[in-house]
Symmetry: D2
Subunit: 352 residues, 4 copies
Amino acid sequence: MRAIVKPAPGPGLEMVEVPAPRPGPGEVLLRVKATSICGTDLHIRDWDPWAQSHLRPPLVVGHEMCGVVEERGEGVSAPAVGDLVSVESHVVCHRCSFCRTGKGHLCENTEILGVHRDGVYADYVVVPAVNAWPDPPDMPYSIASLQENFGNAVHAASVPRVAGRKVLVTGCGPVGIMAIAVAKALGARSVYATDISDFRLELAAKMGADLTLNPTRTDVVEAVADATEREGVDVLLEMSGAPSAIDQGFSVLKPGGEAALLGLTSAPIMFDLDAHIIFKGATVHGVVGRKLWDSWLEMRGLLRSGAVDLAPVVTHRFALEDFETAFDLMASGECGKVVMFPDPADADGPLL
Amino acid sequence: MRAIVKPAPGPGLEMVEVPAPRPGPGEVLLRVKATSICGTDLHIRDWDPWAQSHLRPPLVVGHEMCGVVEERGEGVSAPAVGDLVSVESHVVCHRCSFCRTGKGHLCENTEILGVHRDGVYADYVVVPAVNAWPDPPDMPYSIASLQENFGNAVHAASVPRVAGRKVLVTGCGPVGIMAIAVAKALGARSVYATDISDFRLELAAKMGADLTLNPTRTDVVEAVADATEREGVDVLLEMSGAPSAIDQGFSVLKPGGEAALLGLTSAPIMFDLDAHIIFKGATVHGVVGRKLWDSWLEMRGLLRSGAVDLAPVVTHRFALEDFETAFDLMASGECGKVVMFPDPADADGPLL
Amino acid sequence: MRAIVKPAPGPGLEMVEVPAPRPGPGEVLLRVKATSICGTDLHIRDWDPWAQSHLRPPLVVGHEMCGVVEERGEGVSAPAVGDLVSVESHVVCHRCSFCRTGKGHLCENTEILGVHRDGVYADYVVVPAVNAWPDPPDMPYSIASLQENFGNAVHAASVPRVAGRKVLVTGCGPVGIMAIAVAKALGARSVYATDISDFRLELAAKMGADLTLNPTRTDVVEAVADATEREGVDVLLEMSGAPSAIDQGFSVLKPGGEAALLGLTSAPIMFDLDAHIIFKGATVHGVVGRKLWDSWLEMRGLLRSGAVDLAPVVTHRFALEDFETAFDLMASGECGKVVMFPDPADADGPLL
Amino acid sequence: MRAIVKPAPGPGLEMVEVPAPRPGPGEVLLRVKATSICGTDLHIRDWDPWAQSHLRPPLVVGHEMCGVVEERGEGVSAPAVGDLVSVESHVVCHRCSFCRTGKGHLCENTEILGVHRDGVYADYVVVPAVNAWPDPPDMPYSIASLQENFGNAVHAASVPRVAGRKVLVTGCGPVGIMAIAVAKALGARSVYATDISDFRLELAAKMGADLTLNPTRTDVVEAVADATEREGVDVLLEMSGAPSAIDQGFSVLKPGGEAALLGLTSAPIMFDLDAHIIFKGATVHGVVGRKLWDSWLEMRGLLRSGAVDLAPVVTHRFALEDFETAFDLMASGECGKVVMFPDPADADGPLL
């Protein structure tokens, strides 16, 4: 089968032929229908310090996907052959104290597809059956593929209480714009969004942001103060990892407010614990991955009810073999979610 | 001024002339713009056992209203003369341990307008300034009046987590149908509603119910099981106080589910604690009044964002002097919220 | 090996010789060191309606135990042969939506040892490795055996917030007296306890109850009101299942209070939802089983720190073959926890 | 009367004669029985940047105290003349949205005794009646005085769940050592404590710390890892404000852990949001002041039950007129809580 691999330490990816995997006990073999690109995949392609310390090539990369069950290993009772499934990319141990207490997203033995074991940018992939999440058969493949990433947004926006409240989302990458939609679906009174890309701010508006702010042109702190009668916001969803955005976000967070942090800063930053957290009596939640499997259940509810529509998130579609162009587009930031199809016939929209 | 009073113990109400009240320190005098009828007002008119044990006539009745600040007593800095305000009907002591810990709705010294002290079915009323909640000047009077009642629905639907979940509302009186709208605004995956009145079920559908069920014709337990792949609902909002509805509601509540109880049964009932609560590991919340003032803040958010539209709730408008017809209509149950206007010129819709 | 079995439908139990079980994949074979008797075991012996509907004889009975790992099935990496372990009696599926979201105690496919599959009143038993909870090697066998039951008490007393609060425990069977100790360990200001047995009330006092009340002689409602300056208690832990105790308990629960219900009523009862839950704005938690595995972790912390001492709970020890006397004692109610040892040499106290 | 005042901008304090205050409506006049010194008082004496920006001399300083009600202003119904009371130093507005929703500790119009209005280092002081918290008449004056400060410890240790868990307290000043006692009283499995002063570490051990660590001699991260089987702690209570302690504390916080931050850093610091909060899925709570009045109620419970004994916290007693020596001692850090008595006859222990 074809697969996109990191052949050896160093920058770059290659599409090569590799043997198709076989499902072991408790596993399923999936025929990949669609895959999508995450920021992590760019780090892997570019071989940044994080990638250098986490990957051991050679490895098939990629972790967001949907596919159809082609074959089941021993002892698998669900899903059925032929089912459409999305994939949770974190393979957890089910034995550590985190897994045993409903905190599988913190499993100390997590293996991530496309990072610690072969990933999904391929014609086929094998995953534990428990990681295959059944989708309705009529779900568009592009939406099914990005559910794993949507789960981060659901996780982040579900931890603080947003109902009836004013929310600021700093950073309008794919997770940011999906978090905007979730916050609105959960009854947020208003959602303000910041990003330095006007393209992304337009997507943010499409996903429901009431006010979009480009900090290269606008004083975000002042603008949010204006919009909130000088009170600030009740909730901050930090999706950028940018020190200036973090500082702006906490500056307009009300006393007693809640912040959910998902964007990575990649290095320690100067941070004012007194002003941003202590004097405010604020609560700050670190958000990593998706809650296994609460976030998936909540996603299902939000999508099936129509409370969230992810269609505008998918801005570009490619054949899997055109992955280099797709990655370059993703790196430019002038996009929402970029989806790649191993079989062009599976594309649920025009390919580029 | 004119006022509707309970002149003496016994059934019935009368419209009479009484002296207009004067605001004392910390109080405001309001010119009443609109008032609405609550089930409690029917109990008071009919002089049922509850009314007999709580009221000491003579008394001006009524507790749901909006009005304009006409005069401020000593020491009042807000709201301003001329402001449109809704009224929280529970006058609390601010001193007991409940008031001191953010649980004013449980204040042990609560006085309710129209029950323990003169109410709002009149041209003017005096209330503590802190009970006058500022409304946007363009809010329709009928909506502003029923906010106090809307607060019960917000309180009830906010206590359990409804986001992405399946919700059953048993009882589609005004609070029930408003709770449907709140549950949808907070991201509920689906809302099922039951009532024995088809008129009310139609209102329920207008407010967003995905499925309406009349237990006089339909097996509610079976129908909800069908609608939920035999799983049942995650959340029960019990608004009827009817033993059969309570039993149906708990029967379809999933293990680990949450129930919020607001409807009063008026007497002990046969209840299966084992099956309904213990074996299910369910959580049951008693809901009384509105959270002071969390529910009001949440209401403001839900209304200003447009997440909830209360317009369909107001089904009938009357001049205050036609209160007898209005009460009879309310007693029939073939209505949503019935609003009465002291000055017909203030009506925001055709009077009956 | 020897085992106590329910040979066929009908009252009674027998000790017989049966083949020792063998561990399958993922399972461990345990040599039983101590077992304890639960109320459920009495129902099984007496073949009450609950037992009739849940058991399919022949079956080895019993579900509380500790033992030493004798042999491991395929794929088991922990615990090690020779480890002392306690056993979680609920064998759950790890696949249903409850298991997947940290609510394994509500698993819809639960099998209970000694109820749905062979139990622990025997020389050996096989359980899934994941159900074997490692104990410190120096833990007394009697304490290790009753941990499973202690978990119910920890679960019940951990759900409401008891720190600095006044707590009423209705029902001083083994779970009740252990819940008293947990409430004290978690900082309860005072714990009041009721039971109709003076023997049990003495145990309650030993476990830390500040006030013990026998409703056959004392007006519980009045006595608790006296003890609490007429305010009532913040938390009710209902462990009796007796309608009168339930009514007393809720009568003295403060507005805004929390109740955890664990005692089973076995049939619907007359219950005043208005007075007991709704007007009070109370929160009621159904408590079933132990949280998998949060309760076990919390138990470990409470026992290892010495915050809870379970020694007084174990009032009687027997050789396993004297099970009939042990069961009769348990049925009399004049005991705390009754522990039986397959090998009398393992007894950590004098046998009766 | 005598009072310790900041006469004008600049370092230093003076004891002078000033007119005794008179209680206005809603206020009470208290005769001061005991006062204690807080770190804030040192900042005020030394006139650091914080003091320069918050105080407008002349002003009577001090905010921790107990006293006896000498006279009541108009409209005060409680407490009674002669009652012993402790004082909540934050005078809040009862009108802002924080005060209205049970978050009075975040009131946007807070006035603090001894900072924004005349304080308690005097023979008499006037405070709002609602700020006077009734104490049992037999409570030692030194304990009654430091309750306000104890409230910070209760607030901090109550926000995370500590029951059965491992807790690290970084910083063993008065609030730190009281937090140790609270954590133990709430069922913590073990409490580890760090400070650079051996005197304070000895106090920490007296208050219940299971392990004390001096980072000038010990590798805290390694020592905590050793003590916790390399797992780290579930809860961090940060009381030092020292960047190195903050870094050590977060380094040993487990994934999914909770941190409560109370110590002030006085300036932004380098902080690793990725490692310390995001990847760990940690929750961080800013802790300011006491919860009005939840913390006071919880304090009452913990003290009256005997779960917490504050006697070891009071290490030194002085006559009020010896305030300079008392302040110097407090500045040295070689003390727990330092209490000063306007009338030496009120001292509940030997004066220095």
